[in-house]
């Protein structure tokens, strides 16, 4: 049989490579103390049984001036308690040989993001009518308003916006990027509504429909009934 196959008849591939994100825990070290590390880790393993054991874990040394001996001790201590240490984060490449020896990847230092905090579950609560010319911004939270939002008023939140009243002004939810944000109001007569920057102005907004839940679906605003 001809060893060469035509490209068209090539067998299906055995595997494909996907890049993806797998959730894993990161242990961030704050100090170079192996005894304390072992002590704290064994307590942690006991407390959160199953959370760390047999789970992929990254050790983050941050900017600590970590030496070879300490490095090996920490990785081995963690492994001996059942953690699957598959990668480390550290400054510089001095310990790359040790990394290879211990079969861990060096991911380099963690990116110091100007941490955009995840929207916290807390809510900003306003118990009054928001009037023309007033602007309320709920940074990193949802916004709950017990009262009307007047024409000419603006209510903005990084999370959801709930208006227990008539929404006549402007409402912008998911203001710093959040496609899952929603806007709820008892009555909808808004000048503008926006979620994650996708907006609709007055003439595109269905009015007189009573309680409305506005969400984003495939980059389109959806005006639905609350479930």
């Amino acid at each position: 049989m001809d060893a060469q196959q035509s490209p068209l008849q090539r067998q299906p591939e055995c595997f494909s490579i996907k890049s993806g994100q797998v959730p894993f825990a990161t242990i961030v070290l704050h100090r170079l103390d192996i005894a304390q590390f072992q002590q704290q880790l064994s307590k942690q393993v006991e407390l959160g049984a199953g959370l760390l054991v047999d789970a992929p874990v990254v050790l983050d040394f941050g900017k600590l001036p970590v030496g070879e001996a300490f490095f090996k001790q920490v990785v081995q201590a963690a492994r001996s308690m059942g953690l699957i240490i598959f990668a480390v984060r550290m400054k510089g490449e001095d310990l790359n040989a040790s990394c290879q020896q211990l079969r861990v990847a060096n991911l380099g230092p963690a990116h110091v993001k100007p941490a955009k905090e995840a929207p916290s579950p807390e809510r900003t609560r306003i118990v009054r009518q928001v009037r023309s010319g007033q602007q309320i911004y709920a940074r990193n939270t949802s916004l709950v308003i017990f009262g009307h939002v007047s024409d000419g008023a603006e209510v903005i939140a990084d999370g959801d916006i709930y208006v227990h009243g008539n929404l006549r002004g402007k409402a912008m939810a998911g203001a710093s990027g959040n496609t899952n944000a929603m806007i709820y109001c008892d009555q909808l007569h808004a000048q503008l509504v926006s979620i994650n920057g996708i907006y609709a102005v007055n003439e595109k907004i269905p009015i007189d429909r009573g309680a409305t839940l506005i969400s984003l679906s495939e980059n389109q605003l959806e005006f639905g009934d609350p479930q």
């Binding site: 009037r131 023309s132 010319g133 007047s150 024409d151 008539n166």
Partner: protein, 268 residues
């Protein structure tokens, strides 16, 4: 010693009837035996003295008192019709930057010692003059015409009262707000040319203290220097009298809010 209640008459928009209302309310309270001072905060565009018919008796004004050029007693003009009523006129020559927070506070504090009510007639807008008029208030009369732009401006003013007044800044009880709808014409409301009382109340969400009908008597009163409340034959005068009653806690039904019937139009 009494400690006066400070009432601001405000609206945001111009021409809705603030000065007419200030004159009527101040006169109404004074006629009820309350010692009342009414202050014109519209520096540079004074009108109150004309409506109160004391234009020619103004020697010293509000700004003179603030700047220490006259005492309060020299500047207060006693009304000729009612001994409980005093007028503090605005300056026609200065501009409103003459109003300072300390100066206004000092004048109000001195008045508060001997008066029952101080009525502050606010200029239109939300600039310094309006800010000074409302800053020290205990009570706000928000004057609104039944049309969209006036209602919007009143909403704006309510927001300012709730966030920038002295009471708001010190975290005291909020200013007591009353809605006064003026120039109301039930016939035009019926035709859909004007917002109804319900529409206005729904948007502003504060309690209604009165509805003053659109009336020729208001212009007549202004031109003749008679606060319209003195004209008890007129519908507007009676409506203002009702406002004074309600202001003092009496339960008085709203009048002049329905379309006139045929007989009323002919004989009324």
């Amino acid at each position: 010693m009494t400690l006066a209640q400070i009432i601001v008459v405000t609206s945001g928009k111009g021409g809705v009837g603030k000065t007419t209302t200030s004159a009527a309310v101040a006169m109404g309270l004074a006629l009820q035996g309350k010692k009342t001072a009414v202050i014109d905060f519209d520096i540079g565009l004074r009108n109150l003295d004309i409506i109160m018919d004391c234009e020619r008796r103004v020697v010293y004004d509000f700004v003179n008192v603030i700047q220490g050029e006259a005492t309060l007693n020299q500047a207060l003009i006693k009304d000729k019709r009612c001994e409980n009523l005093f007028i503090l006129a605005a300056s026609q020559t200065k501009d409103k930057t003459a109003l300072t927070e300390e100066g206004v506070e000092a004048v109000l504090a001195e008045l508060a010692e001997t008066f029952d009510y101080i009525v502050c007639d606010s200029p239109a807008g939300i600039e310094l003059g309006a800010h000074m008029a409302m800053y020290f208030a205990d009570i706000a009369l928000v004057v609104t015409n039944p049309e969209v732009s006036s209602v919007r401006d009143s909403d704006r003013i309510l927001g300012v009262l709730q966030s920038q007044s002295r009471r708001a800044k010190l975290g005291l009880d909020p200013i007591k707000e009353h809605l006064l709808i003026t120039r109301y014409d039930p016939t035009r409301v019926g035709k859909g040319e004007m917002l109804s009382i319900e529409d206005v109340m729904d948007i502003l969400g504060i309690p209604l203290i009165g509805v003053i009908p659109e009336s020729e008597s208001v212009l007549k009163a202004s031109n003749s220097g008679q606060p319209v409340i003195l004209d008890q034959k007129s519908d507007a005068g009676q409506a203002y009298a009702d406002v004074i009653e309600r202001f003092q806690g009496k339960d008085v039904a709203m009048r002049f809010t329905e379309r006139k019937g045929f007989f009323q139009r002919v004989f009324g």
